[in-house]
Symmetry: C2
DNA sequence: CTTCTGTGAGAACACCCATTCTCACCGGAG
DNA sequence: CTCCGGTGAGAATGGGTGTTCTCACAGAAG
């Protein structure tokens, strides 16, 4: 039971999950075969099935893994911007835009998976709900109006996947600014928020 | 070539399309087999394939049909509310809420289809884009900020499909009101020009 | 009546895929 | 050295699916 043993046991696991993540995200769950995952990962079918007893288990592992990595990456980007002096809305939408302009961007893995309706097990639906719930909570910790902001962001993600351009995210940012500005107005006039170019 | 002949030629076509529409929307495209469409419609496989040479053609016909029927239904609901004196935002979100609370609601057929990525032909992607484009144009004819509103609405649809409750649509309406309120502020009071539907 | 066209019912075909199995092989244990 | 558990490569299995084909039949035309 040395540390090396643990590494040994996990051998190929990370390669398999990485390949699965790449393929599932790019092509959708149903369109990817176990053989393709073997080809891309170099992990044999036999080992694949000892690591994940069925494709369902692999999908499940992918969704959990995706939740972790995506959340980490997004929060990291947001926090970087916050430390650069960005206000919350700018940090959030800057991070989103950065993600959406990646060449591999194909929308939200969880929304996409949810659309493959009948093939999903209840287990998967639960992970999807939890991811969206977690994301909304995070936005809520950054701004008031977090739930409404989450709706806007999901709309932007979906439209960015359908139309390839940058318009959806700009419209979303515009809506988000109106949303938070309205609250700011209510919250006392305070200083005169000179509307920066909302572009 | 009497009118009866035309009817004869179309015999079963409507039944086939109705069944396909129901099944595709409920279960997703890939999950529905031609045999299931035959069983539910009563149209034999042979006739099915003379009407639609391949499943791809049937999917294509469904998307076009869905665009028509959904758009008609939505506009009808909106116009009813407008005539009842609702302001544009209330008419739009009232119509949406009515749709989303139907028991068969499973999100937007176009967003869902788009998520089944690799199985879609370019033809289908184009229909999906056109539908969203058309919808945004319609919102734009009803309110200023139509594009941003379209983003919010898509977010609400997606979240309503994931979470079953009414919260997403309420958050969306809240955001939409903030959006138009902000513009109204800028535009001074002014009167509301009632745009007739275009197209 | 016969002939021809088009149909329904369903078998047949030609794939594809998740999952399992075979078998030769390799490294460690005794 | 032999023995053995676990492995990779890939074939086999069992089931499913889009599409086509067979065949018997119904009805219009001659």
């Amino acid at each position: 039971m040395s540390p090396a043993a643990i590494v040994d046991h996990a051998e190929g696991e990370s390669a398999a999950l990485t390949a699965a993540a790449d393929l599932f995200y790019k092509h959708g769950i149903a369109a990817v075969t176990m053989s393709e995952i073997r080809d891309q990962s170099g992990v044999s079918l036999r080992r694949l099935y000892t690591l994940y007893p069925s494709k369902v288990d692999l999908v499940s592992a992918w969704l959990r893994h995706r939740h972790q990595t995506w959340t980490d990456s997004f929060r990291h980007r947001v926090e970087q911007r916050l430390q650069s002096g960005d206000v919350a809305i700018d940090a959030i939408f800057g991070a989103l835009e950065e993600w959406m302009t990646e060449t591999e961007f194909r929308g939200c893995a969880f929304i996409n998976s949810h659309a493959e309706a009948s093939k999903l097990i209840d287990d998967h639906r639960e992970i999807i709900r939890l991811h969206k719930e977690s994301f909304a909570n995070y936005l809520e910790s950054l701004t008031s109006q977090g739930r409404a902001l989450a709706v806007i962001v999901d709309g932007a993600i979906v439209q960015a996947a359908i139309f390839a351009g940058p318009d959806p995210i700009h419209h979303a940012r515009h809506a988000a600014e109106a949303l938070t500005a309205a609250v700011t107005d209510l919250q006392e006039s305070a200083d005169s928020g000179s509307d920066r170019g909302l572009e």
